[in-house]
């Protein structure tokens, strides 16, 4: 059981870190760009919230299957034949699945900040990159914290996508949510209870953390 929990935490941790790095420039672009067509990009980013996980998992599976248009060049350049049923494939799928949970809170935080702090930084001789790291990121820190908590929790709770892409290979791609399903199927309710209760406590802690962050935000307006 420890191995399953470790795989789950490793997957959630890696997805969170990589996704925050990827989502930050995307959220910044969406927050600052005025063109109406940016909302097309925003809609694509938000799609995983609406799509059934099996649909998303199905398309990702096709994309990472051997000889797919995505995998063919990867095989040619790096000798990687497929990412299906691998931990790396699972991380990529989780990142796509949780993308909106990272982008939206960070975008909201950047939008709430407005343009003035960046203008102030410019009049104090900070170049755009300097101002981004010393003003925009610190001011949006609560958005980042919210995004990190949401992505981590969302990845822990994944079921459909990880089953489609990972295939639940013990020690490699088997995660807690799928183990619970298998335990219930084999009528091992005692272990299913242990893992389920652990997830309930975890979900409660996440929600409490979110509410406390919101409360703090209310008291300390930007």
């Amino acid at each position: 059981m420890g191995e399953v929990i470790w795989t789950t935490i490793r997957l959630a941790g890696l997805t969170t870190v990589l996704l925050l790095v990827l989502a930050t420039p995307l959220a910044w672009w969406l927050a600052r760009r005025r063109a109406w067509w940016k909302e097309i990009v925003a809609a694509v980013v938000t799609l995983p919230i609406i799509l059934p996980p099996t649909v998303l998992g199905f398309y990702i599976l096709i994309a990472v299957a051997p000889a797919s248009p995505l995998m063919a060049p990867l095989q040619q350049w790096f000798g990687i034949r497929t990412l299906a049923f691998t931990f790396e494939g699972l991380v990529i799928a989780s990142m796509i699945y949780s993308l909106p949970f990272a982008v939206q809170p960070i975008r909201n935080a950047f939008e709430a900040m407005g343009e003035r702090p960046m203008e102030v930084a410019a009049t104090l001789r900070a170049g755009p990159l300097d101002a981004f790291f010393t003003v925009a990121l610190p001011l949006a820190r609560r958005g980042f914290l919210g995004a990190a908590i949401l992505v981590f929790a969302h990845t822990i709770g994944e079921f459909g996508v990880v089953l489609m892409i990972g295939g639940s290979i013990p020690g490699k791609t088997e995660v807690v949510s799928i183990r619970i399903y298998q335990l219930v199927e084999s009528l091992n309710f005692k272990d299913a209870h242990k893992l389920s209760a652990g997830l309930v406590a975890f979900a409660f802690a996440v929600l409490l953390a979110m509410l406390l962050i919101d409360r703090r935000t209310d008291r300390r307006p930007l």
Binding site: L124, D130, P138
Partner: protein
């Protein structure tokens, strides 16, 4: 090298057209008044490099903008005090003051002490900016702008969001600044009393144009500068020397 500011802008922002020619004399406060929406803030943004309209801008003989070049805001030694103090809320008062000072090459301890003393910021240094009053916030914003070693100071209705008590608190500090600082200053306000107390020259704007700029305004300002008492001139020279500002 001709000291002071010479600017000329003509262009449109949306449906609004700005067509302005302006000269600001060193060491003098030029007051700018006019109804809301007449282009005062747009003019300040053009001077600061925060907005780009076709035109030309020379500061102390140096080209900040012309037909071929445009120096962005972060490359202009300009101090801007906005209507709201716009302090960086993740930094303390000290952090706000240091932010621009560090990027402008660092203010000497003496220059910093002068600005802190001039604006009465000593007791506020370690405080977070959330707990300051409106007047205190604007004093910090002024100090922050001054420590970035500006060669042009722009103030966009800095008192308009303050209550009467806060205005009364900050006006004497602005008068002290006026006497001590050598750079050209543009002060936008609706309030005639502020203009009476602070401005050497007053310009009026209407629908994107300066409507009644007194002829030879910069010379008048220079004359008024020359008419300062010797004590005022000493204070000005001392502050200029210490702050490392180009007088």
């Amino acid at each position: 090298m001709k000291e002071g500011v010479e600017g000329q802008f003509a262009g449109t922002v949306g449906a609004f057209r700005l067509e302005v020619e302006i000269a600001l004399a060193p060491g003098a406060i030029t007051g700018l008044s006019g109804p809301s929406g007449c282009g005062k803030t747009t003019l300040i943004r053009c001077l600061a490099g925060l907005a780009r309209l076709p035109g030309r801008l020379l500061v102390d003989g140096e080209v900040w903008q012309d037909e071929r070049s445009f120096r962005p805001a972060h490359r202009r030694p300009v101090g801007v005090v906005f209507q709201e103090a716009s302090l960086l809320s993740h930094l303390s008062v000290r952090g706000n003051l240091d932010y621009g000072a560090r990027r402008a090459g660092g203010a000497s301890a003496a220059a910093r002490a002068d600005v802190v003393d001039l604006l009465g910021l000593g007791p506020l240094m370690a405080r977070g900016v959330q707990n300051l009053s409106g007047g205190e916030r604007q004093r910090v914003a002024l100090g922050r702008a001054l420590l970035s070693r500006p060669r042009l100071l722009l103030m966009d209705e800095p008192l308009s969001s303050l209550d009467a008590a806060s205005k009364a608190e900050i006006l004497p500090y602005l008068e002290r600044l006026h006497r001590a600082l050598p750079m050209p200053m543009l002060y936008v306000t609706h309030d005639d009393r502020e203009l009476d107390r602070l401005a050497d020259v007053v310009l009026h704007m209407r629908e994107g144009r300066i409507v009644d700029a007194p002829a030879g305004a910069p010379d008048d300002a220079a004359a008024r500068l020359a008419a300062l008492t010797s004590g005022q001139r000493d204070a000005l020279a001392l502050a200029a020397l210490r702050a490392g500002l180009d007088p």
